[in-house]
Symmetry: C2
């Protein structure tokens, strides 16, 4: 193999494929990145056996070939080079790198032993703009469960049973709060044969780690992302990269039933005001359940956020709120409440409340199709 590229491109590629390296792997070759010339570009691949990432960079190929080298060492080395062209050459198991006055040899391992990510040869089900998908994933991610006792909620639920209505839905929950995002796709971006390809599959659960990697890799741009789905794997394809991941097996809970469809109060508040108030109140939150209290004050038309730890002190903050129609005191976990408001876009946000035991809904005037549902805590 002999390949020339810019230091900048190679550095970016290594940052992207390098993060999923599993340090505790018993298979030494999984610490390595696979370099391979492919269709006029250099492909960098890494896998931790759950997720596989390919990233392609442009350059000049003088000799095709492949090699694997330790990812961390190679990435550290490239990150310290000046921004020049880099010449990469492999001879047997040695990778030879030249850049200006720098000459380095790195010992590699046989690429034949590198575990190949399975290929999904099916057609994409739908396409979506990178930035839209990234934004939607970021909104639901905080609500994903970390509990290993209920594996089915440790991922993001992607429901495409209404693809015939051009709609998909992303859902995440840890049973204390739930985030749901409806996305309307353009008809042209949906594969007309989706029913034939999907068969009986009308939803999947994508692992949290995969969502995190995807958010990191997806750009804030107009590039279209293709999504290919099989029964137990998902492939995200874009111009310069692809991410393949296993799916979580199991039945996602029937969450729709817990979302109330009527409210006794819908109050309007400023997002930054409530976020700051929650942060301050959290310093005195209940030690056993992390709760702080929200009080609807009907006479002053204020929302009061308060908390107390008798040994430390207490805090009360009043912020203006529109449409308060009764007095009510509700307790919430401050972290879950903060995650919810942080997930909302725009300044003007709504709290939809029934009472101190039924779920509360957080929404924003700026968010189409996104709701964050939170269960009150008990005193």
């Amino acid at each position: 193999m002999k390949f020339t590229c810019t230091r900048e491109n190679l550095n970016k590629a290594l940052n992207i494929v390098g993060r999923i390296i599993n340090k505790n792997s018993t298979l030494p070759i999984l610490n390595n990145v696979l370099l391979k010339t492919e269709k006029g570009r250099l492909k960098l691949s890494s896998t931790n056996l759950e997720i596989g990432i390919n990233y392609w960079i442009g350059g000049k190929i003088e000799e095709s070939g492949e090699i694997t080298v330790p990812t961390k060492l190679f990435a550290n080395f490239i990150s310290n080079l000046p921004n020049n062209n880099i010449e990469i050459k492999s001879r047997e198991d040695i990778l030879n790198i030249k850049c200006g006055g720098y000459k380095t040899n790195i010992k590699g391992l046989d690429p034949k032993e590198y575990p190949l990510a399975p290929k999904l040869e099916m057609e994409p089900i739908f396409k979506i703009k990178s930035s839209d998908f990234k934004k939607a994933l970021s909104q639901v991610l905080p609500a994903v469960s970390n509990s290993e006792s209920r594996i089915e909620i440790t991922g993001v639920f992607l429901n495409f049973s209404e693809l015939n209505k051009n709609k998909i839905t992303l859902v995440a929950t840890d049973s204390y709060r739930l985030a749901e995002k409806d996305i309307n796709l353009k008809k042209d971006n949906i594969n007309k044969k989706f029913k034939d390809i999907l068969g009986n599959v009308n939803s999947i659960i994508i692992p949290k780690d995969t969502i995190q990697e995807l958010i990191r890799i997806l750009g804030e741009n107009e590039e279209m992302l293709e999504i290919i789905i099989s029964e137990n794997q998902i492939l995200f394809n874009f111009e310069s990269a692809s991410v393949i991941s296993r799916l979580i097996e199991g039945k996602y809970p029937d969450y729709k039933q817990i979302i109330p469809d009527k409210f006794e109060s819908q109050i309007t508040i400023n997002k930054n005001e409530i976020i700051n108030s929650i942060k301050v109140a959290s310093l005195f939150s209940n030690i056993s359940n992390n709760s702080i209290e929200l009080k609807l004050l009907n006479s002053s038309k204020n929302l009061e956020i308060s908390s107390e730890i008798s040994d430390l002190g207490n805090n009360n903050t009043k912020i203006p709120a529109e449409n308060i129609n009764k007095n009510l005191n509700i307790l919430y976990n401050h972290k879950f409440l903060l995650d919810g408001f942080n997930s909302l876009n725009g300044d003007k946000v709504f709290l939809q409340i029934n009472n101190e035991t039924l779920p509360t809904i957080l929404t924003s005037a700026a968010d189409k199709g996104f709701i964050y549902v939170i269960m009150p805590t008990r005193a």
Copy 2:
């Protein structure tokens, strides 16, 4: 006590006094900050019994008094408030804080129990511009030893035996490398009675922690810093703050004898080029002693930086060097070498070399009075 100030000033003060809080202290009151009205300002004080910091902020005093409150809680609280005026009131052991719609009470402890930092009532020995002293301390700090077996080199040596020549010297060493900085003071900034005040004391050793705190607090400005010295303590006084610290007892090593005064070669190189080359070479540095090799190449007039770990690979980098007059190979610890070049200012730096066993000196055209001495390692 009743005091009004800006949130910005209070926040800054808490960041400065809060860092030295010793979390493992068995004396609970040491987790607290002492607030006290003093001469029209609010004084914030903290101590870990080794270092004490006072910081003063301006504001409106309506009622004088004092109280101590948990530093971390108070600082977290203030950092989350909006940038408004803050009203602070104490009633017995409760600190009451109001800021816009926020009302908070924090439980305090009796200020009478707060350990008082000893007062140094002597006159200052000398004054120096904050930014100059900060820069000098930052240059020698990396060479301070962390070894607890030789307590006398775990601080910065301040030698003022040549104060009659308007000169002080800062020194740090860990016995593998040494940094020395001469500072010329203005005659007007030296107390004329310094001999009477100092008596037999002509040098002290300031603990590393104190130097680190001081670097953090000292601004990049023209403000003059007053230095007051007693036999076992040092006090740094400036407009808005004071830092008092114990000194390290012991005899600083007679380091002058190891600094060579003649060199067989003095080569000139570019600082950023050598720094990048060392970073790259460090990836393949000798596992047992962290060494990399510097080679003076007389024929090509290059400096070659090289390293090898047989299982991983190797690296060779050539950079241009002026005034090479012979071939020579020397091994250095890459970390100590990197610290040295990072301590130098300017682009054009010098390596003063005798041979592969005698100390090498690093200096810069831009640094007056600063040298960094490094011992070669052995193969």
